[in-house]
Symmetry: C2
Subunit: 198 residues, 2 copies
Amino acid sequence: MRAGLIAAGVELARSGGPEAVVLREATRIVGVVPNAAYRHFADRDELLAEVCTAAMNELADRMTADLTRIRGKRGNPDAARRRLGAIGSAYLRFAQEEPGLFATAFAVPRRHSYADRDGATDGSIRSTPLGLLRAALDELVEAGVLDPQRRDGIEYPIWSAVHGTAELTGQGPLRDAPDAELRRIEALTLTFISNSLT
Amino acid sequence: MRAGLIAAGVELARSGGPEAVVLREATRIVGVVPNAAYRHFADRDELLAEVCTAAMNELADRMTADLTRIRGKRGNPDAARRRLGAIGSAYLRFAQEEPGLFATAFAVPRRHSYADRDGATDGSIRSTPLGLLRAALDELVEAGVLDPQRRDGIEYPIWSAVHGTAELTGQGPLRDAPDAELRRIEALTLTFISNSLT
DNA sequence: ACCCTTAGTGGACACTGTCCACATTAGCTC
DNA sequence: GAGCTAATGTGGACAGTGTCCACTAAGGGT
């Protein structure tokens, strides 16, 4: 039942973003009275938090799926570059194809903060976007593409650039630009990152 | 009165983000009955849209304020670099000091879209964040710092990097990191951008 | 057989955005 | 000045939301 409510919430988030994951509607989908949800979640925010991590997990899953499609031995410079590019592409594609889920993944309510659940501070056990990015950067160092002296902390500017592009072109001021322009901007960001590795 | 409602909305947005700009509360502040607002705004969304542009304008104003503090002739390479840095710093500082307004500036409702009001697509008459950034980049080209061949479209990756940093450290997964770490991440992004100009 | 935890129900409250009909008031025309 | 018109604000209502409270089954352990 808890899982059912979360699944319903994910569906609501997919088509309408975090605002659309409304408790009463989720219970309606499951076919139960609104208050029943309070046996499984303290708040609407607790339900929303679960939906958020589900959305974040789906993003991570899509990234790994794209990542495994890139051939080439670990440590190969060209393959390492392509893997980094795949990470960025998957991120941007997810934001574009699933705008609701993307917005939801980053709309975790203040109360139920990220803690270490999504590996924001450490790329722990589960595959997480930041963890995947770090692994790709480590491989780039190993492959001799990225200067080890520049490795420390570089995941943040790179993540920021990709995330900012997703945000600005998806829901931000650039959202009404024609599709071709949006793709161009995404490509500009990816090559900007690639250029800054040398 | 219209202005009063917008001002009240800005105050609500300042301490609570876009979600906090609730029509009834704004009318309460102005000291009028809820429905009176409908003589001046079609929707709550129309009020919110005005509040959003007000927030965006305040961001632009702070950026120009910081910008005028940078001495140095136009075309001087060092001054040009410092001006670009000031733009990024002001952006990040605004996001940190006024999280509510920052979030609101980018939460324009779908209906009342940006149009060309904030100069998203062209840095028109009024001073706008993107317009300021473009001017700074043009000066960097003029100063011989930035290769003219790399100038085209480079405002988007740069804007994205700064915006993404603001988002990730402000409301995103990194928001719970210690303050020192947040400043470090911001500095990393700014030097990342600076390095990528050469 | 009892009791106690769990899961779900029914009813209520405060709050929101929004619609409708009404009152007031300012300004204009005759 | 009298009266019409447009603008502005009021009062009351409705649906929808999150959330609290008291209540009712059902199931399992003693």
